[in-house]
Symmetry: C2
Subunit: 133 residues, 2 copies
Amino acid sequence: MTAMPTRTADQQRTQERARYDAYLAECPARQLLDRISDKWVSLLLNALADGPQRYSELHRTVAGVSQKMLTQTLRTLERDGLLTRTVTAAVPVRVDYALTPLGRSLLPVVAAVKDWAETHIEEVHAARRAYDA
Amino acid sequence: MTAMPTRTADQQRTQERARYDAYLAECPARQLLDRISDKWVSLLLNALADGPQRYSELHRTVAGVSQKMLTQTLRTLERDGLLTRTVTAAVPVRVDYALTPLGRSLLPVVAAVKDWAETHIEEVHAARRAYDA
DNA sequence: CGGGATCCGACGGGATACTG
DNA sequence: CAGTATCCCGTCGGATCCCG
């Protein structure tokens, strides 16, 4: 019995992929992309850019979002320190959301994405038409 | 029988959400975000930033990606005019991928995201720790 | 070497109903 | 008003096998 490799090539690749996944999980850029690429995050950030808004106001401003996703998205943004949640005890209750300085510092990044998109989207569409033909 | 509204409030909201979804589908910024937020897109863009690479090279460079997703992602990027696919007839076949000027113009945007992430990720992590406590 | 085709499990997210 | 809880279905993406 000679020195057989303990792991097959497949097992090695699986392991490497696991390690790469772990690396990506730590990668700051990856984490931020996962955040702002969320369907509702950039919409909410922009909605709050002009000042604080109540839950129901946000629900109206970002008309397409469901209650579940609105709440869930706001929670994660609060957890990440990008916005604050202020509860005013009253009847009925009042909850205001506002950007933190950290959240506000993210606006230019979102704007950069938006700018590239609006400048080059027509080229992309043209490329698609050409490709599909 | 008085003037009853034909649609209930629920139906109206459903319609509005449909309209909003349609609006988002057309929104350039949304489309771009959907692209670059794809798990592998920014990785591939960066991998090709230093010059063209073959399929197998990309497969090794971006170690975590599966064949399926690598091919699929490259196809959509090609369709969007962000990179080119060059087949060299030979045995075995050789396929090279390279960024187009349009794809290259996207690099600064990805870099902006990366910069914010690396600068502020620690604040985000701190905020999470505080929130979880 | 560079894919295409197929199957299938996980999960993201909408709809709905209920609550302090 | 501002949520929470549950169900449920569609899609994404990995695994696997096959091909020119």
